[in-house]
Amino acid sequence: MRRRRWACALIVLAVPLLLALLGPLFAGEPGPRGASFTTGGGHGAGTDFVGRDVWRQVLLGGRPVVLAALAATALAYAVALPLGLCGALTHRRWLDELLTRPLDVLLAVPSLLLVLLVAAVVRPGAAGIALLVALVNIPDAARAVRAAAAEAAARPVVEALRMQGESWARTALGCVGRAALRTLAADAGVRLTGVLYLVATASFLGVGAAPDAADWAVMVDRNRTGMFVQPWAVALPALLIVALTMGTNLLFDAALAGRTPRPAPGRERPPAPEPPPADATYPAPGPNEKDEP
């Protein structure tokens, strides 16, 4: 069962990852441009909005997406995690306020607007835009972390760790963060997708990746006008993005699946070596009956 889930998640994830990783090796030289949004004509998957071969763009377009999205998400979390945990763990209200209120200011400005404004002012490159998108995500992620960790941070274990003079990092990451892991994984997985499209939208608005860049997210965005003439130009990269985010999240799910104690099926009741007793009047525990640890 577990193995099947792993396999399923890995297969879904492998397609976009392999394409992203190895695609550029097989992309080859650009052929001549065709007319925009045509199907056939030597282009297996048709042409895109500027008449390039869609398949070649797909091969080339994975790396930046995967890199930008992963980097921005990771970066956002690298900052948000300590911030959020700090907010959850401190009892100094002023510190909590000091950490969260300024971030709330960023939060009150719609992220797209913020990216748009800041990017128009500082004109960052591709790395800069990842940084910017990460920055925009920090307040949100920090709040998510804080919310997810709030309960765990108030547990007596944490008091006990403090009593032991345990270091902040170990308390925060090792104990509190770990307790909130599932929620954080869900949040991060979802955030990955959000980040991805924010990067794409930013590029359309003229910042970060070139607007005709080989980049799955940018492709989805830019080829939308031709969605009905040449669906592949949107569908292929979109499907790959779906696979990427779905695979990542399913992998998280599979990895975290075994963490809550749940009885293995068939073990909830004594697997009677003798025939089931006639007087077993207790109803079979429902499928959700969970054992206490």
Partner: protein, 317 residues
């Protein structure tokens, strides 16, 4: 935390400060943007003399700080100033945009909360089994599809092929409530992604919550399944979801630009995008006030939920 009320009061006070900060931030960023309202208005006729004249008529030749102070002084009397370009009061812009946005946001929320909660709980109940994997796969799949693609798809299939619903709200912008049919597709599109993200979070929290010994304990005493899940387990999983919900409301209010554009609903998102394009600073500042206030209120609400759901937080050493 000593009592909810003083805390709320303090936060509201801080909120006022935050609003000021947001306004300053937006003002600074718009000022730093290349070009100003005059340049934007001049468009592809950037005749320098005309731009200078436009600047003068818009009072853009005065220092930024002075304009800000003027605007702030007006704000103190409840006057949000007036648009640089059209000269109409900013409050009328906001009032015009707020109605449709609020309507959409409310409808979406009304559906979003039960739907996302239900899906998340359902998935968590069946963690690892077919139902869960189905829900997870579908929500993740839908989440990875951008709004415009989903919107165009829905319009094509539901409105143009099947002709069940009108494709856009064009022409009904003033009175959406009179034509509820035009709202169906926008609300569907608006729902699509938040439902997914929220359901994921609820699911994650619920798996842990359902596995807690106190839930097994309650189940033992014959608490009905639904009540057990929603009244007993869910509060333990609620904090992150409430946080996410606050963000969603914020996102809904601050203009779901794509949906508004796709379905021609003249809401705040449209006002926002136009104001940015036109560098209409007073309108932007008015919007910033609206966003900041909703942001403060929503964050406060989310924090209150966290506060309620983690009652120990205040007393733990």
């Amino acid at each position: 935390m000593t009592g909810l009320r003083p805390w709320l009061l303090r936060r509201l006070l801080l909120g006022a400060g935050q609003t000021v900060a947001v306004v300053l931030l937006v003002f600074a960023l718009t000022e730093a943007l290349p070009g100003d309202a005059a340049v934007a208005l001049a468009g592809d006729q950037p005749d320098p003399a005309r731009i200078a004249a436009l600047r003068e008529t818009m009072h853009l030749d005065r220092p930024a700080a002075e304009r800000l102070v003027d605007w702030a002084a007006g704000l103190a009397h409840g006057d949000l100033g007036s648009s640089l370009v059209s000269g109409r009061p900013v409050s009328s812009y906001l009032a015009d945009g707020f109605g449709p946005t609020l309507l959409l946001a409310t409808l979406t929320l009304l559906l979003l909360v039960p739907l996302a909660g239900g899906l998340g709980v359902l998935a968590a109940r069946h963690e690892g089994r077919l139902v869960d994997r189905l829900i997870s796969a579908v929500t993740l799949g839908v989440y990875a599809v951008p709004e415009f693609a989903l919107g165009v798809l829905l319009v094509t299939v539901v409105a143009l092929r099947l002709e069940w619903l009108p494709p856009t709200a064009v022409g009904h912008g003033d009175d959406l409530t009179a034509h509820p049919a035009v709202l169906v597709l926008p609300v569907l599109v608006l729902l699509s992604r938040p439902v997914c993200s929220l359901a994921r979070l609820v699911r994650a929290g619920m798996i842990d919550a359902l596995a807690a010994p106190h839930i097994a304990h309650a189940r033992r005493y014959g608490i009905p399944g639904a009540r057990l899940r929603y009244a007993h387990a869910l509060p333990n999983a609620l904090a992150p979801a409430a946080q996410q919900l606050a963000r969603t409301v914020d996102w809904l209010l601050c203009g779901v630009i794509v949906v508004e554009a796709l379905f021609v609903i003249p809401g705040l998102g449209t006002v926002l995008m136009n104001a940015v394009a036109e560098r209409d600073v007073p309108v932007l500042q008015g919007l910033a006030v609206v966003f900041a206030v909703t942001g403060v209120v929503l964050n406060l609400a989310a924090d209150t939920v966290i506060y309620r759901c983690t009652p120990r937080a205040g007393v733990a050493a």
